[in-house]
Subunit: 407 residues, 2 copies
């Protein structure tokens, strides 16, 4: 949420929903730039700041927005009040600065909403069992919104974002990308985790667990009588119940946040490969695609895998430290790789999806460096320079191109 | 409190006090400019903003400082934690945006302090009986500090301000103004209410009621082993117990916040004058000095009085509305007046104090437009242009000039 102009727009949207007879709870984020400013103060105070106090400082950003939105609504004649994390409370567990929502008390909230009052709730914040302020980690407001929707059993959870919905792929790369009317939680999770930055992965996982129907909408649109519908994120069952026609493939995602590591000539004996990945897991480094190349000399093997780019240096350090124990030859790294994923619930029953992907890329001379698959996704690792080309040819190959270039 | 540099200075001061074996609770204000920024947002949201939501927005300023100071202390190796208004809680009553502190729960606070932990408390904020956030009105952090000191029965309440103590008069006007070592609550109240802006009047009144020994110090000084002592505000009994030599007069204050109103030819009959002041009181306009000039024609009288300059237009409006009922001639206003006050507990037994004041001013040709007195104060109203001259000659006349010009 940006400055007062943005708050007024949100207030107008809320008034519109109230006018349609809806009971409304609004979860707000901080004003644009505010969280960065507050985090900056904390870093200035101490590079190793106390996370409980960090939460006290940073939670104030959403607190300010909630008060301002509630007073703007009241000034418009819409009854409203703010409910801070500790006032409901939003009960959290785990660690400060990255807490998890455990439970939300809704008694007071539902009474107020039942009386026609709009509830304005600062996202991102909650209260620990010991009564202290907690926050959910960056981007936590989406998760707060879904958690509130689940707690009050909302009919729908509308999330206003920088985009006006979920697309078949990044519209900046493919002008004929199409906005999806509907997408399943599973597909959204795969798209979110492989680089489509519409919603926080946590919030989608929570929506799936709690069965919250989420709608992604644009926060830039003027609130009119007939707002442009966004993308509904719903369960597979709901889509099947409505006998919607299903696409085989929902979308193409790309992700440039990984780096490739090759460890050469690892002795091909039981436990050798595991002894690489154990220490990485202990260091909380997430290893994604893994390939064990057969070497001619069967006594040794090359192991290729990806890690988040941000963890590359740390991962290399850890593996170097294992050289004496494991006895490999050397470590080759390549941060300039991209992961391209084809996602769709429909692919479960169609063996040809992966084959079409490999053929399409091969036809354009794009080399596949690694492959990983899940039930509803096929991912390949390619040279980063070929990202846009790969996304474009796959979007066409799977019949996703729209009639008109996207706006 | 300004930015991080200021917070680090406060942290160093606290560490110094902890090092001397003191148990410390710190009450903090918002960073410089922060409250104005937040109030600005509220005014932008709505000129007639909801005060309960205003409190939610504005209280965040002190919340941020409390978190930052606590984490700075921890980074210095001093155990500390923040206690927000609702966490203690600081129980308040009255109206949002100008609440009064009713009671402070100190159990958790005293346990933590007893365990060697510094308590960092955001000033200016509390919690209403219904659980909502409240604030005490601008400058309320001084009052919070005194209230906390009273609740935990502190030995002393040090208040760090823009100045290094209370002076016999404004050092910008009289270079030989002297810093006072001690002043009584009563004297401080008179000095505060007549324009010496060192401390909020409310905080001094509360300190007197609760018997809190307050020390006014400079927040600009570097925390060293022997900090420059400020001014102690204590009870008259304490000063008498120590058989301190007392000055007749403690200080000279000036105040340019009043305006003069003359209502001419008011019928001199019972109730006529009261019928002016009743409606002003109802409108919460504070009338200060009142003089009823005898006119030659005994059937009519001129009434002169002062009101806060900010209320002048409103006051005139109200009186104009009474013209038909009361039947006066006209209203003359003069906003360019100043109130000069001579303050001192010692004057109670010295009838000559007022006489010396009038003579000193008359000798310099300064015309006295109105007079008011209390047990420990004599105030006169003069032309605003003569403020500095009046303060200077009175400071000398009462023997207050120091040996050396003040730094």
């Amino acid at each position: 949420m940006a400055g007062m102009e943005r708050i007024r727009k949100v207030a107008a949207r809320v008034r519109h929903e109230v006018g349609r007879g809806n009971e409304v709870a609004v979860v707000v984020s901080a004003m644009a730039g505010e969280t960065d400013r507050l985090v900056g103060f904390c870093k200035e105070a101490s590079p190793l700041y106390d996370t409980a106090e960090y939460d006290v400082v940073v939670a104030s950003g959403e607190q300010v927005t909630s008060g301002l939105l509630a007073m703007t609504l009241k000034a418009m004649g819409v009854d409203a009040r703010s409910w801070l994390g500790w006032q409901l409370p939003v009960r959290t567990m785990g660690n400060h600065s990255k807490a998890r929502i455990h439970e939300i008390d809704t008694e007071a909230l539902l009474t107020a909403m039942g009386g026609g009052q709009v509830a304005v709730i600062p996202g991102f914040q909650g209260q620990m069992e010991d009564g202290r302020v907690s926050t959910l980690g960056r981007g936590g407001s989406d998760t707060s919104a879904v958690a509130v929707a689940a707690a009050i059993k909302a009919d729908r959870c509308d999330i206003y974002t920088d985009v006006d919905g979920v697309y078949t792929t990044d519209p900046r790369i493919v002008s004929r990308a199409r906005k999806l009317d509907r997408i399943t939680y599973e597909e959204m999770l795969e798209l979110a985790s492989v680089g489509s930055k519409v919603l926080q992965t946590r919030s989608v996982a929570l929506a799936m667990k709690e069965g919250v129907r989420v709608q992604v909408l644009s926060s830039f649109e003027e609130p009119g009588d007939d707002p442009e519908p966004g993308t509904m994120i719903v369960s597979e069952e709901e889509i099947e119940d409505k006998k919607m026609e299903r696409q085989l493939i929902t979308g193409i995602a790309h992700d440039k946040n990984d780096a490739k590591i090759i460890v050469t000539r690892v002795p091909d004996k039981p436990g050798a490969v595991a002894s690489i990945f154990g220490p990485l897991a202990e260091a909380s480094i997430n290893v994604d695609m893994i390939i064990q190349n057969d070497s001619k000399d069967k006594a040794e093997t090359d192991v290729t895998f990806t890690v988040p780019r941000a963890d590359l240096a740390r991962a290399v350090d850890i593996i170097e430290g294992l050289k004496a124990t494991i006895g490999f030859n050397r470590i080759i790294t390549d941060p300039e790789v991209a992961k391209i994923s084809v996602v769709g619930v429909g692919m479960r029953s169609h063996a040809g999806v992966a084959a079409l992907m490999f053929k399409t890329l091969a036809d354009r001379g794009i080399n596949i460096e690694a492959i990983s698959t899940s039930e509803i996704k096929v991912s390949v690792l390619i040279d980063e320079d070929e990202t846009e080309l790969a996304v474009r040819v796959l979007h066409t190959a799977y019949g996703l191109d729209g009639e008109q270039p996207a706006a």
